[in-house]
Amino acid sequence: MKKYILKHINRVLFSDFLKTVSIFLIATLLALLLVNVSAIKDNVFSVYILAVALISVVTSGYIWGIFSSFLGIFSVNYFFTYPYYAFNFLLAGYPLAFLSMLVISSIISTLTVKIKKQVLISATREKQAESLHDITKRLLTATGMNNIRTLALDYFSNFYNCSVIIYFGNPLSDKNYGIKSLMSHHTALFEQQIEQNAAQYCYTSANSAGAGTLYQTDAKCTYLPICTEDTVFGVIGLLFENERFKQPEALNFLGIMTSQLILAIERQNLFEKQQKILVETEKEKMRSNLLRAVSHDLRTPLTCIVFSATTLLENNDTLSKQSSQKLLNDIIQDAQWLIRMVENLLAITRINNEHAVIKKQYEAIEEIVSATIVKIKKRFPNYQVKVTVPEEFILIPMDATLIMQVLINLLENAICHSHNTKPILLTVVYTENDVVFSIKDNGVGLNPYEIEHIFDGVSVEKTGDSTRGLGIGLSICKSIISAHNGTISAENNTEGGATFRFTLPKKGENIDGK
């Protein structure tokens, strides 16, 4: 790096020298030409002053301007004053001309240098303003902490041309950081214990730490806290290859960029909090819906069981065999109904669990369907279900128990509410992104008024006992399918009966299995 800088400086020096010499030569030739053509020597000085001005503009620093003004004086003396082509500094009035030319050229070069500096400063400012504007705009639209961090990493690294690490939260305990590294060995350097300690100090004390600061100076990077007056959000670490990080102005700008970053972080935090509240409310709503439905759905069969059993016990002698048989059958049916209810409730606890990411594994559609059919056949040996699944074998991410519960609920609905014994059609087809299950019966169909709210779990009270369970079962189906990012719908067939349809995405997130 040092060698590189030296080389660079040499190259600049050399090119400035070339420029100076060539401009000076041109000016001398021009002056000689003028003198030869017009024989008037008054313009010679102006030509040289012009040359000095030009040289000051195109070269860097004062040296070349002053150097060229000396050169001008000498060449005027040599070429254009008597004796020609020889030096004579004892001419009358010459010191004055010499001095005036020196002063003029010095003033010109000073001015141009100043202007150049100004231009440079304003260019830097513009670059700062532009990147600030850019980062602000990009940060405003960024969602998710990781995106925000990646954006900030890119900007800081681009702007300062250095490697950057950004920690969100406590550097040592949270280990939640991102690195943008310009050199391959920088990543490992950032992860060294000494660097992490400096970052940790920066986080806990909210002071800058590391190289070039007052604290933890043995670290190679410079760490700055991302903080407001009362909260520290994280730490930015900058790693420079050479010792450039000393300009206070650069630090100022870092402060401005950091405050933009803080704004973005706070906005993201708020957003997440709001999202969480939303999910909580949704869950709360589902839970209360469920409780309402359950208290209704459990009470009825329990009442029947208690009533039938009491009747049997108390009137054992007087009941005819036929009627006691009927009561016993009722008990079995109601108990089975309760079993199914409990299974649904278990399904709900599976999704409603506090950390409610359902556990998906790759499952074969045909295996899920066939296992469901086995269960259904055990409960309803007299009903027929015609199953069609695609020939192609694919695995879909899902919680198998929950999807089976959905299929069971929908098939049971079809069996219990279609009021006939025609076979029910269970069909699975693949579309480009989804697997579509449809369950079609030939029953009485749905009340068109109900279709819209059929999955809301509220239709129970309106329709009363005759359709008990329809509400809760379907609302559970809806919850399960939503948790799988699928859709569920119901419609009446044109030829009679109803069709329930649900989809599951072929590709899902959060897959645990292989």
Partner: protein, 229 residues
């Protein structure tokens, strides 16, 4: 009958064990009852039952622990009875060499069928003269032939191994890991994807409708089972 089969019921809920005992007695079995793990272990040692019905949720020792201890010295058929529903536990119990698993609530006919299967499996009577047959499916292990409704079906080496493995444990659920270990050795990667693809191919060859199988059933999340009787 002098040679009644002896069933040990390990269950801490009196109502359940009463109901099971009544059912079994009316179907010609002798029953032994006990309600905790320590008692169970000593009763198994002293009475040598033919079948054990084991509840996993016992007050003193976990049912799974009893199973593991028992398997160190005995291969008495054990049927796990449990109200817990997650598949992991089923798999764990089956991998610890339980013979079968039945989830509460269950019906009497189901219970009796499972007991029959477990006992038949213990006596290995489902395979005679190196041949196996159930419904329209018959397997000749010596000739490596699988015949469905009189027609020969061509299976690959692996497919035949899977089918015959399931047939030899007819009625029992074999977990994915058990099948993988049998087929590819105990150190094979426990990735059931390959097994499932093989299973899908087998279904397409031996079942009329792969979604309504007649011979090989899926226990979702657990494994596969060859149809009984």
């Amino acid at each position: 009958m002098a040679n009644k089969f002896k069933v040990l019921i390990v269950e801490d809920e009196i109502s359940i064990s009463n109901f099971i005992a009544t059912t079994l007695k009316t179907n010609g079995y002798t029953t032994l009852l006990c309600s905790n793990g320590k008692e169970a272990l000593s009763m198994i040692a002293s009475h040598c039952p033919d079948v054990i019905l084991l509840d996993l949720g016992l007050p003193d020792i976990d049912g799974l622990e009893i199973l593991k201890q028992l398997r160190k010295w005995s291969s008495i058929p054990v049927i796990i009875v449990s109200a817990r529903v997650n598949e992991e536990e089923k798999v764990e119990a089956l991998d610890a060499n339980a013979d079968d698993y039945i989830t509460k609530p269950f019906g009497t006919s189901e219970l009796l069928a499972r007991i029959r299967t477990a006992m038949r499996h213990a006596s290995n009577s489902n395979i005679q003269n190196d041949k196996f047959s159930v419904k329209g499916l018959s397997i000749d292990f010596g000739k490596r032939l699988v015949i469905i409704d009189g027609k020969e079906v061509h299976l690959t080496q692996i497919e035949f191994k899977i089918v015959s493995l399931l047939a030899k444990s007819q009625g029992r659920v074999l977990t994915y890991d058990q099948i993988i270990a049998e087929l590819w050795g105990p150190y094979a990667v426990k990735d059931n994807q390959i097994l499932r693809v093989n299973m899908a191919n087998i279904r397409r060859k031996i079942e009329k409708n792969p979604a309504e199988p007649q011979y090989i059933f899926t226990e979702v999340g657990v494994g596969y089972r060859m149809v009984d009787e």
